[in-house]
């Protein structure tokens, strides 16, 4: 992408009258004022200083939406052609800012309160108490430790996905059939998967896999032993998400220049040599993208755990998300749960930034 000047040049001869400019500004400030006034009134009503008010904050939301539309419209009214360009990005930016930045600021406030939805007196700021509680909470650290294992499992998924992509890229018949079949697990919802595999196929008495293991002469127990339970969760998650990496790697393989591979064959490289010396290095950028995105998805892992083991046995399979989910579900501890989530967010941001930095340095090209 070029850095200087627009890619698409437009010559504009806007002469915008002062009246039009004033109208645009009046729209923005008027609606903003309306929104702010309503918000202040509602706040005073809730604190009991004004007798009448709205039942919920819904009208303020409407005023906010009105302001957002006024802001978008005013871009064109005030800035003319330039505003039309801004209008491409502005709606998405407003949407994300209002749905992420405000809640995050709010979360920051909640995380330093002792808010429990079950208690009658709302949020009370309690300073660093939540932080201290977190520091002494073995289950949270345990969940973080599990996340490390879960993220490390991505390497195995990567190997399998690469193998499958190579298979699909080979000269085979019925390629489309295999591609659809291999893609199917990605379509299934993790909740359905946790019943299909976790609760029925791995059921100790009647599940087909348990039956198979009993035939082989072992006693099946999938969720009793911490290590095996964690492995089963990893396997189920891998089953759903391997297609995701596989498709990205397959796209990479198909985009490889065929001349290079043919040249390596002419030079007498065996299959393994041409893979190690030619295909794999050329696939590095795609691999990195696939692995990084997969890791980002992995950090959100929760659905399978919530539905299959709910963190058991003894927290061995807990991910941070599932742990916080239970903290809220079982104890309605909004304040503490939010603090845990915020800490997790900070850790993730640090981790992903380091990862990207490391990758870009290693590949010696800007990310």
């Amino acid at each position: 992408m070029s850095t200087e000047g627009d890619l698409l040049h437009t010559v504009t001869a806007d002469n915008i009258s002062d009246q039009r400019r004033r109208l645009g500004k009046a729209m923005v400030w008027g609606s903003a004022g309306l929104c702010a006034a309503l918000a202040i009134w509602q706040m005073m009503y809730e604190t009991g200083r004004v007798a009448s008010g709205f039942e919920t904050w819904r009208p303020i939301l409407y005023a906010y939406v009105l302001w957002a539309f006024a802001l978008c419209a005013a871009q064109v009214i005030v800035n003319g052609e330039k505003g039309k360009r801004t209008l491409f990005v502005l709606p998405a930016a407003l949407f994300v800012i209002s749905l992420v930045v405000f809640p995050l600021l709010f979360a920051l406030y909640i995380s330093f309160t002792d808010w429990n939805l079950a208690s009658p007196n709302g949020p009370q700021p309690n300073g660093w108490d939540n932080m201290v509680q977190m520091w002494n909470d073995g289950f949270y650290w345990n969940a973080l430790k599990n996340m490390v294992y879960y993220v490390l499992a991505v390497s195995v998924e990567y190997v399998i996905a690469f193998g499958l992509a190579l298979l699909l890229n080979a000269q085979i018949r019925a390629r489309k059939f295999f591609r659809v079949v291999f893609l199917l697990p990605l379509m299934l919802s993790p909740v359905a998967v946790s019943w299909m595999i976790g609760k029925s196929m791995l059921e100790v008495r009647f599940g087909p896999i348990s039956r198979l293991i009993r035939e082989l002469g072992f006693e099946p127990s999938f969720f009793g032993n911490p290590e095996i339970a964690r492995f089963m969760i990893m396997a189920m998650d891998a089953w759903t998400f391997i297609p995701f990496m596989m498709i990205m790697l397959l796209a990479g393989l198909q985009a490889l220049p065929s001349e290079v591979i043919e040249a390596s064959k002419v030079d007498g490289a065996s299959g393994w040599q041409s893979f190690k010396e030619v295909i794999f290095p050329l696939m590095l950028p795609v691999s990195v993208t696939a692995v990084v995105i997969r890791i980002i998805f992995k950090l959100k892992l929760a659905d399978v755990i919530i539905n299959v083991t709910s963190g058991g046995p003894g927290g061995a399979t807990d991910s941070v998300t599932s742990f916080i989910f239970r903290e809220y579900r079982d104890r309605s501890n909004v304040g503490y749960g939010t603090l845990l989530a915020m800490v997790y967010l900070v850790l993730i941001v640090i981790f992903v930034t380091l990862l990207l930095k490391l990758v870009s340095r290693w590949m010696e090209r800007p990310a």
Partner: protein, 309 residues
Amino acid sequence: MTATQTNAVFKDHAADTRVKTKWWASRVAIYAALITWAIICLFPIFWTITTSFKLAPDVMKGNLIPWWDFTPRWKGWESIGISPRLIGEVSTVREEFLKRFWNSTVIAVSASLLAVILGSLAAYGLSRFNYRFGFMRNSDISFFFLSQMILPPVVLALPFLVLYKSLALLDTRIGLILLYTLMVLPIVIWIMRDQFQGIPVELEEAALVDGLGIWGSFFQIVLPIALPGMVAAFILSLVLCWNEYFFAALLTATNATTLPVMVASQTGSQGINWWSMAALSSAAILPLVIVAIFLEKYIIKGMAAGAVK
């Protein structure tokens, strides 16, 4: 084959036959691996769908193959009110199921649609014009959008719970639609930016010369070309929204619950009622399995975009 070769006029050299056996060996290995993985992918789906037609004894005996091992029955599907016998009658369970199904459909479709609209506009703007919002330039704005992908749902879940409560958006479809749009927006922007960068600017320049405005050329020239990419982004979003569980579990209670929440709530109660759970799971996964079979091309296109630069 060797028998015919011994008395054939044109014989392969010994070295050539060695290559041939090696080639056959690699063929066999490739297909064996392909079929093994295909079974790994298909067996759980096969198991779920067949179990929905089983009765308790069939489950306990571990019967696998319909009509040979066991006779398929509609018992499982009757528990969600869908079977040839019950289809004409009024059934509360079916209404319950269809309500969830309809919720899922409405939420997934509208969230994906909203995300594709917002995301395409933003991606087009970012790939064609230079912006400066304060200190933020184009690459910063792109990074701002894409970085939302890192945001774990837990961070937003609890604040949204409280915010939605005061906005009376808890347990409504609109509340979930907004969140899901936010969740898939970075992915849509990622795919669409790639699409728009692949379209030559000269097309729009020609349109501008011919008298169209920026928005006119976007709608009349660029959109039709980028349509396959938009469909890909839409379908990928649809899959993600349809399967989402975490937000739905936290933010809905009775009115706006989606299918995954219904599936999850059934597992806990009433022991393991195999046939009805299997029927419910099958019904929850079937729409996307059908989507996968018929629109596989678009899903792959969507995921491949951006992976290859």
